[in-house]
C-alpha cells in the first residue's frame, strides 16, 4: 500500500513525454527518469531474468529493458491483427547505454498496463471481392487467349512455305 502510494507520488512528479521528444532531445533527458505511454509491439524478448519490450507511441518507437517478472501483465501485443496493450513506463533513459552497447533505451522501474489491447477487425470490403473476381476472370481469359494465339501461330507457321 505504502509502496503504491510512493510510486503514485513519484509518477505525479515525472513529466510525461513522447518517445520522439526524448530521442530528439536525448542530451537533455540522458540518465533522467522519464515516463512514457505507448503500445507494446510484437512480443516480449526474454533475456534470462530480464526482458526487452519494444514500445511505439505513434511518434517513434524505443526498446524498454526490464525484469521479466514485470512483463507478466502483458497480454496483447501490437501487430497486424492486434492493437497491443498500452503501457505506462517509468524508467531511466540512456542515450548511450553502456550495458547495451551504446543503445538508446529505457531501463524500466515500473510498468503498468493502462489500456488492454484488442483484436483488430479487418473487414473485407465488398468492392474488393468484386474487383478481385473481375480481375481474376479477365486475367484468366487473357492468359487463355494468349496461349491459344501462340498455339495457332505455331501451327500455321508449319504450313508457311519458305520463300
Amino acid at each position: 500500500m505504502v509502496s503504491t502510494i510512493l510510486a503514485l507520488l513519484l509518477v505525479s512528479q515525472i513529466n510525461q513525454v513522447t518517445i520522439n521528444q526524448i530521442i530528439a532531445n536525448s542530451h537533455d533527458f540522458d540518465q533522467s527518469v522519464i515516463m512514457i505511454e505507448a503500445e507494446v509491439i510484437l512480443e516480449v524478448l526474454e533475456r534470462n531474468e530480464n526482458a526487452w519490450i519494444n514500445v511505439n507511441d505513434g511518434t517513434n518507437a524505443i526498446g524498454v529493458f526490464l525484469p521479466l517478472s514485470m512483463t507478466a501483465d502483458l497480454e496483447v501485443f501490437g501487430d497486424y491483427e492486434h492493437q497491443g496493450d498500452t503501457v505506462r513506463v517509468v524508467g531511466v533513459f540512456s542515450r548511450n547505454c553502456v550495458e547495451h552497447g551504446g543503445e538508446i533505451d529505457i531501463h524500466a522501474s515500473s510498468l503498468e498496463v493502462i489500456k488492454q489491447g484488442v483484436k483488430q477487425n479487418h473487414k473485407v470490403p465488398v468492392w474488393k471481392g468484386l474487383l478481385a473476381l473481375v480481375g481474376v476472370s479477365m486475367s484468366i481469359t487473357a492468359l487463355l487467349l494468349h496461349r491459344k494465339r501462340k498455339v495457332i501461330m505455331k501451327f500455321s507457321n508449319r504450313f508457311v512455305k519458305p520463300v
Partner: protein
C-alpha cells in the same frame, strides 16, 4: 545520339514478357495472406496480380503486332526494355501498398516500391508495426528481387531470346558474365542468392529464437532481415529497424551478409570455382577494404573524442556498423535518424556521405559509384602522375585485376569517370533542391547521398509530409542511381523523340 522510335513494338513486347514473369511473384504474398487467414491482403494481391497479368498480355500482344524485326533488337532498345520495365513494374507493385491503406497516397506507394526495387530502404509507409505479414513479405521480396535484378529474373525464363537478353541485362546495370551465355549467368546469380538465402535465414532463425522471438516470428524476421541484408536493402519488418532486436549477434549476422551481398557476383562465382586468391587480388575488394578501414577509423577517432560512445563495443555497434551499412549501401541503422544530426556532427556526417556515395561493388546488389570505378579512377590518376614525373617517353602499361587481368586504357578510365561525374552531378542537384526546400545543407547532403547511392539511412527528411516534388526527385534519383544513368537517358530520349514526332503529326 540518334534515337530510333520505330521499334517501340519490340520494347513493348519484351517489357510485357518481363512483367508476365514478374507477375508470378504475387503468388507468394497471396500464399502468406491465405495461410494467415488474412483475406483482405489476399484480395489486395489478387487484384494487383490480375492487373499485372492483363497489362503484360496487352503489351505483349501490342508489341507482337507492331514490332518490325523480331530477331534484331538494337542495343538501345535492349537498354530501354530494362528501364521501361522498371517504371511499369514499380507502378504495378505499388498497388498492394495503396490497397492496404497504409500509404497516404499512390505517390508514397511508388516511392516505397522504388526504394525496395533499388534496394534503398527508405520508406513512407504508415504504421509499419501494424502492417500485414503479406505486405511485409512483399516489401522484402521486392528488395530481394530488385537486388538481383528484375530483368535478371525475367531473363532466367527467356528461352528463345538469348540474343537480346544480354542487352536487357546490361540495361539493368549489370555486366559481368559468369558463364558464356546470359541465361546461364542469370541462373547462376539466382543460384548463388538462393544458397545464401538458405544459410542466412537459418542462422537468423536460430538466433531469433535465442533472443526470444517465437518460432513463427523468428522465421519471418530471419527471412526478411536476410533478404534485406543480402540485397543491401535496409528494410526491416518493424519501425526500429535493426534496433528492434537488441542483440549484437543478430546485428552481426546481418552485417556479414550485407558485406558479402555487396560483393560482385563474379567474385562469388570465382569462390565457387575455388579461385580463393581472387579475394586478395580483386581491385574492388582492395578498394572496399581500404575505404572501409579509412572511413571507419575517421569516424571512430572523431566520435570517441567527442565522448558520445565511451567503450569499444559501443563504437563498433554504433559507429563502425553504420559506416559499413552506409558503405555497402545497406541502410540498416543502429542509431536513430535524429542521432546522426545531434551526435555525429559535421565530420561524422561527411564520413557517412562519402561512404554512401562510394557504395559497394559493381554487378552486386549494392548501389553507389562502386568500388571498381573508384579503384580505376585512383589507379588512372596515379598513373598520370607517374607519367608526368618520369617523362612522357616512358611507356607504362597499367593493369588491374577484376576476376581477370585488364589493361587500364583511356576508354575504361573515361567510362568510370563519366559515371562517377554523373553521380556527383545528381547528388549536387539533389542537395540544392533539398536545401531550397528549407533543410540544412548537412541534412540535405546526408539524405540525398542516401537516395542517390541507394542506401536507406536517413536523418529524418524523408517523411510522408515532405513536398511531393522532393518525393518525385528522390524516386528519380533512386531509379537513376540503380540503373546507372545510360539506359534511363536513352528511354527519356526515346520519349522526347516520340513526343516530338507525335506533335509534328498533329
Amino acid at each position: 545520339m540518334k534515337v530510333d522510335t520505330s521499334n517501340w513494338g519490340s520494347v513493348c513486347y519484351y517489357t510485357g514478357k518481363s512483367i508476365l514473369i514478374f507477375s508470378a511473384l504475387f503468388a507468394l504474398p497471396i500464399f502468406v495472406a491465405i495461410s494467415h487467414s488474412d483475406w483482405n491482403s489476399a484480395l489486395d494481391f489478387t487484384i494487383s496480380m490480375s492487373i499485372s497479368i492483363i497489362l503484360s498480355i496487352g503489351l505483349t500482344f501490342y508489341g507482337e503486332q507492331k514490332r518490325k524485326n523480331a530477331h534484331n533488337l538494337s542495343w538501345r532498345h535492349g537498354l530501354v526494355v530494362a528501364s521501361f520495365s522498371w517504371i511499369l513494374l514499380s507502378l504495378i507493385s505499388a498497388i498492394p501498398y495503396s490497397l492496404s491503406g497504409h500509404s497516404l497516397s499512390y505517390l508514397d506507394s511508388v516511392f516505397d516500391v522504388m526504394s525496395g526495387f533499388t534496394t534503398t530502404g527508405v520508406f513512407l509507409i504508415q504504421d509499419l508495426d501494424h502492417i500485414s505479414q503479406a505486405l511485409n513479405t512483399w516489401r522484402h521480396l521486392l528488395t530481394f528481387v530488385g537486388g538481383q535484378g528484375m530483368i535478371v529474373l525475367a531473363i532466367s525464363f527467356f528461352v528463345k531470346e538469348s540474343g537480346s537478353a544480354y542487352k536487357f541485362y546490361v540495361g539493368e546495370g549489370k555486366d559481368v558474365s559468369l558463364v558464356p551465355n546470359v541465361q546461364g549467368t542469370a541462373k547462376w546469380i539466382w543460384r548463388i542468392s538462393l544458397v545464401y538465402l538458405l544459410i542466412g535465414t537459418t542462422l537468423l532463425f536460430i538466433q531469433g529464437m535465442r533472443i526470444g522471438l517465437n518460432p513463427i516470428n523468428s522465421l519471418f524476421h530471419g527471412l526478411y532481415i536476410f533478404m534485406s541484408a543480402w540485397s543491401t536493402g535496409g528494410f526491416a519488418p518493424n519501425y526500429q529497424n535493426i534496433l528492434f532486436y537488441h542483440d549484437f549477434m543478430y546485428e552481426s549476422i546481418g552485417l556479414v551478409f550485407f558485406i558479402v551481398g555487396s560483393f560482385n557476383f563474379g567474385l562469388h562465382f570465382a569462390f565457387i570455382q575455388g579461385k580463393y586468391k581472387e579475394f586478395r587480388k580483386n581491385i574492388e575488394i582492395v578498394s572496399f577494404f581500404v575505404s572501409s578501414f579509412v572511413l571507419s577509423v575517421f569516424a571512430v577517432v572523431y566520435l570517441s573524442n567527442t565522448g558520445i560512445y565511451s567503450d569499444s563495443i559501443s563504437l563498433f555497434r554504433r559507429v563502425v556498423y553504420n559506416v559499413l551499412s552506409a558503405h555497402t549501401t545497406t541502410g540498416f541503422g543502429s542509431v536513430y535518424a535524429q542521432q546522426f544530426i545531434s551526435d555525429w556532427g559535421g565530420l561524422g556526417i561527411t564520413v557517412m556521405v562519402v561512404a554512401m556515395l562510394i557504395g559497394g561493388s559493381a554487378c552486386s546488389t549494392a548501389g553507389g559509384i562502386k568500388g571498381l570505378r573508384i579503384g580505376i579512377i585512383f589507379k588512372g590518376i596515379y598513373n598520370d602522375i607517374q607519367k608526368l614525373m618520369k617523362g612522357e617517353r616512358t611507356m607504362r602499361v597499367v593493369k588491374y585485376h577484376h576476376i581477370k587481368d585488364y589493361i587500364l586504357d583511356d576508354a575504361t578510365f573515361r567510362s568510370a569517370a563519366s559515371i562517377a561525374i554523373l553521380y556527383i552531378a545528381l547528388f549536387t542537384v539533389g542537395v540544392l533542391l533539398t536545401s531550397l526546400s528549407g533543410y540544412s545543407l548537412i541534412e540535405s547532403s546526408f539524405e540525398v547521398a542516401s537516395v542517390t547511392g541507394n542506401v536507406g539511412l536517413s536523418v529524418g527528411i524523408i517523411q510522408a509530409s515532405m513536398p511531393s516534388y522532393l518525393k518525385l526527385f528522390y524516386i528519380f534519383a533512386m531509379y537513376l542511381g540503380r540503373l546507372e544513368f545510360i539506359s534511363v537517358f536513352i528511354l527519356i530520349g526515346m520519349f522526347i523523340k516520340g513526343a516530338r514526332k507525335w506533335f509534328q503529326q498533329y
